[in-house]
C-alpha cells in the first residue's frame, strides 16, 4: 500500500500534511503518535472513509484514491470494534462474505476457520453482548480477516482492554501476523505496543511523519527530541553543538560543564541549540573515577531493575536505571558518568 502526497484538510486546518508512505507487502506498520497527530486520519484515508484533499493512494498497482471503502477490499478493526449488535458472532464474521454473495457452504467453512484462528471455535452462536471485551476484539479481528483483505487496518484495537489483557492480545496479534504475513497498518498511541508488534513504526506529530523506521532505529537513532521522548524513556539535556564531523558532533553540555564527542542526528550544524539524549540504562554510577559529582535524590525499586534520580552539581536532574543493587541509598554521593557511544545529540524539536 502506498500514499503519494496524500493530505487531508478541514477548512484551513491540516489534519494530515502531504505525506508519502509505502507499506511493503506483508509488513506490519504502526502509526504512532499522540492524539491529533494525524494517525487516524491517515488510517481513514487508507480505508476510504475519508477522501484525501490531495495526493493519490494505491493498494498494490490499484489506484484506490476515489474508491469508496466497500470497493477497496480492506479489513478494518475499529477502536470499539463496531460489531453489529443485532447479529450473532458467526453472522458478524460472515457479513463481508454474505454481501459478496458467496455460496453458503463456503461462508460457513471460512467463518469456522476464522473463528478457529482467533480461538473462538465454539462461540459462533453467541450474541455479541454476551462476550467479554477481549472476545469482542477477537471477533472484530476475525470479521476483518475472513474477507482476505489486501490490507488489514486497525484503529487502536486494544484501547478498551485492561493492561494485562492487552499484553496477551499483543502477543496473539504478533503470532497471527507471523503466520499469515498480511499487510497491516496499525494505529496506536502506546509506544510499547508499537515496539512489540511492528516491523516498522511511523512516529507522527501535527499531521506529518516525524520518523519512519524499525523499533531499534527509533530507539537508538531518533531524529529529534520528540521521537526520542516518545519512544522509551529518556533524559534530554540542553547542549550546544560546537562542530559536526561525519556522524559525530562535538558538543558543550551545560549541565555537565563539559564537552564531548557523541553520535549526531542528521541536520545538525555548529552553533545549534540541541538536546543530548541519554537513555536511563546508559547512566552509570561509580564506574569512572573522574565522573561528575552527584547526589542520589530518589531510589525506586522496580524488582529486577532499580531506577534512581541523580542531582548534579549544576542542579540538573537525571534519571538512571540499572540491575538492582541494594547498595544504592537516597542521599548517597556518587560519581556519575554515561556511555558516550550510546548517547546521541538530536535537534531540540
Amino acid at each position: 500500500m502506498r500514499f503519494a502526497g496524500s493530505a487531508k484538510n478541514y477548512g484551513a486546518v491540516a489534519a494530515l500534511k502531504p505525506t508519502d508512505l509505502e507499506i511493503r507487502d506483508g509488513e506490519f506498520m504502526t502509526l504512532l503518535g499522540p492524539s491529533g497527530s494525524g494517525k487516524t486520519t491517515l488510517l481513514n484515508l487508507a480505508a476510504g472513509y475519508l477522501e484525501p484533499s490531495a495526493g493519490r493512494i494505491f493498494i498494490g498497482e490499484r489506484d484506490v484514491t476515489n474508491l469508496p471503502a466497500r470497493q477497496r477490499n480492506i479489513g478494518m478493526v475499529f477502536q470499539n470494534y463496531a460489531l453489529f449488535p443485532h447479529m450473532s458472532v458467526a453472522d458478524n464474521v460472515a457479513y463481508g462474505l454474505t454481501v459478496r454473495r458467496l455460496p453458503k457452504p463456503e461462508i460457513q467453512r471460512r467463518v469456522a476457520a476464522a473463528l478457529a484462528m482467533v480461538r473462538l471455535d465454539d462461540y459462533g452462536a453467541r450474541r455479541i453482548q454476551e462476550l467479554s471485551g477481549g472476545q469482542q476484539q477477537r471477533v472484530a479481528l476475525a470479521r476483518a480477516i475472513v474477507i482476505e483483505p489486501d490490507v488489514l487496518l486497525m484503529d487502536e484495537p486494544l484501547g478498551a482492554l485492561d493492561k494485562q489483557l492487552r499484553r496477551q492480545v499483543q502477543l496473539e496479534l504478533r503470532r497471527l501476523h507471523e503466520e499469515h504475513r498480511r499487510t497491516t497498518i496499525y494505529v496506536t498511541h502506546d509506544q510499547e505496543e508499537a515496539l512489540v508488534l511492528s516491523d516498522r513504526v511511523a512516529v507522527m506529530r501535527d499531521g506529518s511523519i516525524e520518523q519512519l523506521g524499525t523499533a531499534a532505529e527509533l530507539y537508538d537513532e531518533p531524529v529529534n527530541a520528540f521521537v526520542a521522548g516518545f519512544i522509551g524513556e529518556s533524559n534530554l539535556l540542553p547542549a550546544k553543538v560546537v562542530s559536526v564531523s561525519g556522524a559525530e558532533a562535538r558538543i558543550d553540555i551545560a549541565a555537565f560543564g563539559q564537552s564531548a564527542n557523541v553520535p549526531a542526528a542528521k541536520g545538525l550544524k555548529a552553533g545549534d541549540d540541541a538536546r543530548l539524549l541519554i537513555r536511563p540504562e546508559h547512566v552509570l554510577i561509580d564506574r569512572e573515577p573522574d565522573g561528575l559529582a552527584a547526589e542520589i535524590t530518589e531510589v525506586v525499586y522496580l524488582g529486577e531493575l532499580t531506577a534512581f534520580n541523580l542531582r548534579l552539581a549544576t542542579g540538573e536532574t537525571v534519571w538512571g536505571r540499572q540491575i538492582t543493587d541494594r547498595s544504592l541509598k537516597r542521599g548517597m554521593s556518587v560519581k556519575a558518568s554515561w556511555k558516550r557511544a550510546s548517547a546521541r545529540i538530536v535537534p531540540k524539536n
Binding site: 476510504g48 472513509y49 469508496p68 471503502a69 466497500r70
Partner: protein, 266 residues
C-alpha cells in the same frame, strides 16, 4: 464515512419536507377561515373581515365557554401538579417492585383509552352529583394530566444528585431545608413543564368533557364540538384560532423554560 449519493439525500430531504408540511400547514387552515366575511366557511375566504370575532365576543355562550375552560383547566392543573409532584418525589424514594407497580398506576390514565376513562368517570360522576360541575370535570382532567406531571418531575429528579443532598445534610441542613434549597430549585423546571402540559391537556380535552361538562359548564372544546355538528359557521374557526394561539404561547413558554433548564424539548 462515505457520503450517501446525492439523489438519496435529495429524496430524503424532499419527502421529509413534504411530510413536515403535511404535519404543520393544515392546522393553520382555520386561521384564514376565521376571517371570513361570508356566513359559511369557505377557504380561501371570498372577502376578509373580523365580523366573526365580534360575533364570538358578543355571544355570551362562547364567552362563557372560554371562562369555563379556563376554570376547569386551573382546577385540573392544581390538582395534577400537587398530587403528581408529591407522587414523583415518593416514587423516587422507592425501589424494586413497589416502584414498578406504582409507576404503572400513575401512568395508567395515559394507557387506558380516553373513551373508556370518559364513560367510567361519567357514570360515577352522575352517581355522586359531580357531573356538570367544573370540579368534576377538573378532577377528570387532572386524572389525564397526572402522568405528564409524574414523568416530567421524575425526569427532573434524576438530575438531582444524591451527593448534593448528602453535602447539604453534612453542612447541617434539615430535610425540609434540603428540599427547599436543593431539590426544589432543581426540579422547578420539571414542575412548571408539567403544569403547562396539564393546563393544555385540560384546555384541549374534548372526549371526557363532552360527557361530563353538562349544559351549564360547556368548555370551549365542547362548544366547538357541538357547533361543528350543528352550524359549521366561521365563529367555530374563531374559537379554533384562539385555541391555536393559546397553544403556541404555552408551547413557546415551555420551550423557553426547557432551554433554561437544559432539557430536551417537551
Amino acid at each position: 464515512m462515505s457520503k450517501s449519493p446525492l439523489w438519496l439525500r435529495l429524496l430524503a430531504q424532499i419527502s421529509a419536507g413534504l411530510v413536515l408540511a403535511f404535519l404543520c400547514l393544515p392546522i393553520l387552515a382555520v386561521i384564514p377561515a376565521s376571517f371570513n366575511q361570508a356566513s359559511f366557511i369557505t377557504l380561501p375566504p371570498v372577502a376578509y373581515s373580523g365580523r366573526w370575532y365580534e360575533a364570538f365576543i358578543s355571544d355570551p355562550e362562547w364567552r362563557q365557554a372560554l371562562f369555563a375552560s379556563l376554570h376547569v383547566a386551573v382546577i385540573a392543573t392544581i390538582v395534577a401538579v400537587v398530587t403528581g409532584t408529591a407522587a414523583a418525589l415518593g416514587l423516587h424514594r422507592l425501589t424494586g417492585r413497589s416502584r414498578g407497580i406504582l409507576t404503572g398506576l400513575f401512568l395508567a390514565p395515559m394507557i387506558v383509552p380516553v373513551i373508556v376513562t370518559a364513560v367510567a368517570v361519567y357514570r360515577s360522576a352522575l352517581d355522586v352529583g359531580l357531573s356538570g360541575t367544573p370540579l368534576g370535570l377538573g378532577l377528570a382532567h387532572a386524572l389525564l394530566a397526572l402522568p405528564f406531571v409524574v414523568i416530567n418531575v421524575g425526569i427532573a429528579l434524576r438530575g438531582v444528585e444524591e451527593n448534593w443532598l448528602r453535602a447539604a445534610a453534612g453542612l447541617g441542613a434539615g430535610p425540609w431545608r434540603i428540599f427547599r434549597t436543593v431539590t426544589l430549585p432543581n426540579i422547578a423546571p420539571g414542575i412548571v413543564g408539567g403544569a403547562i402540559f396539564s393546563f393544555i391537556t385540560s384546555f384541549d380535552e374534548v372526549v371526557v368533557a363532552v360527557f361530563l361538562a353538562g349544559y351549564a359548564n360547556k368548555t370551549l372544546p365542547v362548544k366547538i364540538w357541538e357547533s361543528i355538528r350543528l352550524e359549521f359557521t366561521p365563529v367555530v374557526a374563531v374559537a379554533a384560532t384562539l385555541m391555536i394561539v393559546l397553544a403556541i404561547v404555552l408551547f413557546a413558554v415551555a420551550q423557553l423554560l426547557s432551554k433554561s433548564g437544559k432539557k430536551q424539548p417537551i
